[in-house]
């Protein structure tokens, strides 16, 4: 499997995500600069990292969504490509309309960095087949704008079509329907606020995040 990570100015989890991929693929993750207009051939999955692309100025993810690489990203998704967007990466996926909904300021108006509990809602995807359905897993969150919002109709449709990957067991940020991770209709794009790349080693305090990367590798190799 060959993974790539898009780097925007202000991305700060690009290295962490690249390393998490490398840990399961054994090969160097390709880094793609946001000014590039093309995604190289032979990439099996694209990671969009956490951070503060363009400083989170204007609105989280909004400026990054206008980068040249994001046009190529939309094409890549339309042709059936796999994408994992984490935190700011999830925000960018909603800003490019690859995923529905939007991420607003946390209900408590404060940045939250903490380990939280999630419920796996759909384990029948390339990202989550390492878990049981309704399994409790632990992952860290670190965000100021993780309050997922979509209208009732969209939320209903996400539920009906099994497009919710994870829900919070104790909602930390006010997200509608406790939603923590959203899948595209073809289940090949996952956007999530929690950071699996930060919990993929026992010395970091847990390995639940590593199971997501392991699942991706076993599906796409």
């Amino acid at each position: 499997m060959k993974a790539a990570v898009i780097v925007f100015p202000g991305s700060n989890c690009d290295r962490d995500l690249a390393i998490a991929f490398e840990k399961v693929t054994g090969t160097k993750t390709k880094l793609i600069w946001h000014k590039d207009a093309n995604i190289p051939n032979g990439i099996d999955i694209i990671g969009i990292p956490g951070g503060f692309s363009f400083g989170d100025y204007l609105r989280v993810g909004a400026i990054a969504a206008q980068s040249p690489i994001c046009k190529a990203l939309v094409d890549y998704v339309n042709s059936g490509g796999y994408v994992l967007g984490i935190c700011n990466g999830f925000q960018i996926l909603t800003e490019t309309n690859i995923l529905p909904g939007t991420l607003m300021r946390n209900q408590g108006l404060k940045y939250i960095c903490s380990e939280i509990e999630l419920l796996v809602e759909n384990n029948n995807t390339a990202f989550t087949h390492g878990f049981q359905n309704k399994q409790n897993i632990k992952l860290p969150i670190a965000h100021h704008d993780g309050n997922y919002f979509a209208d009732n109709e969209t939320v209903k449709s996400l539920n009906d079509k099994n497009c919710i990957a994870f829900k919070y067991t104790k909602n930390p940020n006010g997200s509608v329907d406790d939603i923590a991770g959203v899948l595209s209709q073809n289940k090949r794009v996952l956007g999530m606020m929690p950071h699996p790349e930060r919990l993929n080693d026992q010395s970091l305090g847990g390995t639940d995040g590593g199971l997501i990367f392991g699942a991706i590798e076993s599906m796409l190799s």
Binding site: D56, L204, G205
Partner: protein, 720 residues
């Protein structure tokens, strides 16, 4: 544009006294221009010149076998083996944070991060030590929220994990809060960059963000006491842009890889002035600047404003002219400014041009070399041990409850949850209790970081307080299995022109020196913040020590937490020192008495015993404020189980005698530990055990869950 004429008022407004102005006249043999006066005031204020503190700073131990670079550069550097080094420093942003908490704290963070990556190091950890006034004071809550949000807003966006720090409340900080920011980075020992310019006629390049009018006169502001008119000083506070800083760091590190950087210096206090003079001074060269080429974001800026602006996220470097094209490419990639604004010259001169006119022409060496230096008079004051000290009559568990209800001793999670402490995915030990730890990529090593000071001890006995600050920082590191390497000091005091304040300063330094020498922890960087006074009310002396330790092998660290049925062992003597203790500060108003005396010989022996016995422990906690009772409670919190300790009296439970640790281990390992302690003449005894759902101090107890709730909510409740 014509410049204002030099008058007595103008000189005084620049913080220069008569003698200092006379010194300028003697140097120049003429009246300085307005721009020149500004440059002198920027270079000679307390903040930049250390004129009151220099004499004493020289007495600190700053060298050691692993020290690559001591004080004087942007940050200190210590070798950690395998061709790598840790670069670190702590710096205050007290005055700006009190005037404008969010931006003051944010730019404090920005400044310290810049100090680290200017030397070629990628920042890997941050901490902050915060001191605020009483929670009942009308300003405190908004200062706390603003400062914490500012640090988070900058550090989170930049992408450095904030893994530790301190937070305290005391009325002496009502009029002056303290914001001390620490950052550490990792560098290859053959890729370290310094600020000394070299080569004649080399281009001087301006990098990063554009120059505006923010922060003009900031360093001078930070060198004076506050009065009722501080609102007027708001424009002297800079505005931070963490996004630009993140890009500047990436661009700078990339630029360094091209080989184009001869020397580099960040623009911090006193901006362009200070950075240019420092580069010239260290390289024994002159510098010529042409301000017409400086990227600006406001129109009609004068030379004076441009030389004194403290706009953030800027760097100055001396460039290898042959690699100009490559260097420019990097900055274009990151959409940052890159402008050649001057050159190095042979003559000892600092010449500033604007609009074809000379705005300043000064002897460069003299600007830093002949800065005034004072040997200020001081008096030593120490509190005596109270002979008729009355031990409070209070039930032990009620005393612990009272301690936990106080936000000074409750959990600080309200603060550190607002900081990203896991970015970079290397945080092995998160903030909460004791030292934070980050692993070093692609090695089995890790670095531990801690900061400590007990201002109450320093107030009562500055010498012992200084000593204790180093000793406890040492103890924090040892308790996670790290070998203490070196430290940085951030010395916060009141007005040094008052002999008793100067006495606090001098004696704290003496104490720090003694402990650093004995424990072999050199001070490799630091910062002094004086004039922390409002309307004549000084802060408690607060010499914050930031210390760094090395864990050679992650497989051999003290991981914790304690396990059910583990026994609890006290390493060090049984104590009883209650004067100046945390429990006294909470249950009585008696602020008299002597702080505990740190026996450095025992400190070192007990520390070495811990480091040599790691494999027999399940967890370890060093003892400080709150003594055995608070230490054991925090271990219970980490393990999320109860603890039971033998029946003793209040001085034994809450005494703050120094050089002590609590250790947990299985019964069989405990026997080995005790045997080992006997053989090496270390005091050690079993005092309790872990397990169950109670916190028991002898016969008195409370439910673990009840105390845990109090502990985790006390700060949050106080701030609501």
């Amino acid at each position: 544009m014509s410049e204002p004429a030099i008058s007595e008022e103008l000189i005084a407004a620049h913080g220069l006294n008569k003698d200092e102005y006379q010194r300028i006249l003697n140097l120049l043999h003429r009246t300085p221009t307005f721009t020149e006066l500004g440059i002198f005031s920027a270079m000679w204020n307390e903040h930049c010149s250390y004129k009151s503190s220099k004499k004493w700073l020289r007495t600190l131990p700053t060298t050691g076998k692993n020290v690559i670079c001591g004080p004087g550069e942007n940050a200190g550097i210590v070798d950690i083996g395998d061709g790598q080094a840790v670069v670190f420093k702590m710096e205050s942003h007290n005055h700006p944070s009190f005037i404008e908490p969010y931006q003051g704290a944010a730019t404090g963070m920005g400044g310290i991060l810049r100090d680290v990556f200017t030397m070629g190091a990628r920042p890997i950890a941050a901490m902050n030590s915060l001191s605020f006034g009483e929670l009942s004071h009308p300003k405190t809550k908004s200062l706390v929220s603003g400062v914490v949000e500012g640090i988070g807003g900058y550090g989170n966006s930049f992408g450095v994990p904030t893994i530790g720090g301190e937070l305290r409340f005391d009325k002496s900080y009502n009029g002056n809060c303290l914001v001390n920011a620490f950052a550490a980075g990792l560098v290859k020992t053959d890729k370290i960059f310094y600020s000394a310019a070299s080569g004649i006629g080399m281009p001087v390049v301006y990098l990063g963000a554009k120059t505006g009018r923010d922060g003009v006169g900031g360093a001078t502001m930070a060198s004076a006491e506050f009065d009722d008119n501080i609102e007027e000083k708001r424009p002297t506070v800079q505005v931070g842009d963490p996004f630009t800083e993140k890009c500047l760091m990436e661009a700078t590190l990339e630029l360094m890889d091209t080989g184009a950087v001869i020397s580099i210096q960040d623009m911090g206090a006193a901006g362009l002035t200070c950075s240019a003079v420092e580069m010239g001074d260290k390289g024994n060269l002159g510098i010529e600047l042409n301000l017409d080429n400086v990227p600006i974001r406001e129109e009609n800026m004068t030379a004076y404003e441009m030389m004194l602006s403290e706009s953030q996220e800027r760097m100055l470097m001396v460039l290898d002219p042959e690699l100009e094209k490559e260097a420019k490419e990097v900055f274009k990639k990151w959409d940052l400014d890159f402008a050649i604004v001057g050159k190095t010259i042979e003559e000892d001169k600092f010449e500033v041009w604007k609009d074809g006119e000379i705005k300043a022409s000064l002897p460069l060496k003299a600007l830093s070399g002949t800065a005034p230096e004072y040997d200020r008079p001081y008096i030593t004051k120490t509190s005596k041990k109270l002979k008729n000290f009355e031990v409070p009559r209070i039930d032990a568990i009620s005393a612990l409850k009272r301690l936990l209800q106080n936000p000074n001793f409750g959990s600080k999670s309200w603060v550190y949850q607002q900081y990203d402490h896991m970015v970079m995915a290397d945080t092995i030990r998160r903030p909460g209790t004791g030292a934070g730890i980050v692993r070093i990529h692609k090695t089995s090593k890790a670095l531990a970081f801690t900061s400590h000071v007990n201002p109450r001890y320093c107030q009562a006995d500055p010498f012992e307080g200084g000593k204790q600050a180093v000793a406890e920082a040492y103890r924090n590191l040892v308790s996670v299995g790290a070998k203490p390497l070196a430290a940085t000091d951030n010395l916060n005091f009141g007005n040094p022109e008052k002999p008793e304040i100067m006495g606090q300063f001098v004696n704290c330094i003496r104490g720090i020196s003694e402990a650093c020498k004995y424990l072999n922890v050199p001070i490799v960087s630091g910062n002094v913040s004086l004039y922390n006074e409002t309307d004549g009310e000084p802060i408690q002396p607060t010499p914050t020590i930031g210390a760094v330790g090395l864990i050679e092998d992650l497989g051999n660290m003290i991981e914790g937490p304690a396990q059910p049925n583990d026994v609890l062992i006290l390493i060090g003597e049984q104590g009883n020192h209650l004067q100046q203790s945390a429990i006294m500060s909470v249950i009585s108003n008696n602020s008299n008495g002597q702080p505990p005396i740190t026996d450095l010989e025992k400190e070192k022996r007990n520390g070495e015993f811990i480091l040599n016995s790691i494999s027999f422990m399940s967890s370890c906690k060093d003892l400080g404020q709150g003594g055995i009772a608070l230490g054991a409670f925090k271990m219970a919190i980490e393990a999320d189980i109860g603890v039971s300790i033998e029946e003793k009296d209040i001085p034994w439970y809450f005494g703050e005698d120094q050089g002590r640790y609590l250790v947990t281990s299985t019964t069989s390992n405990a026997l080995i530990l005790l045997e080992e302690a006997r053989n090496t003449n270390i005091d050690a005894r079993i005092i309790g055990s872990f397990g169950g759902k109670l916190i028991k101090l002898g016969k008195s107890f409370l439910q673990y869950d009840e105390l845990k709730m109090i502990y985790s909510k006390s700060l949050e409740l106080a701030l609501e």
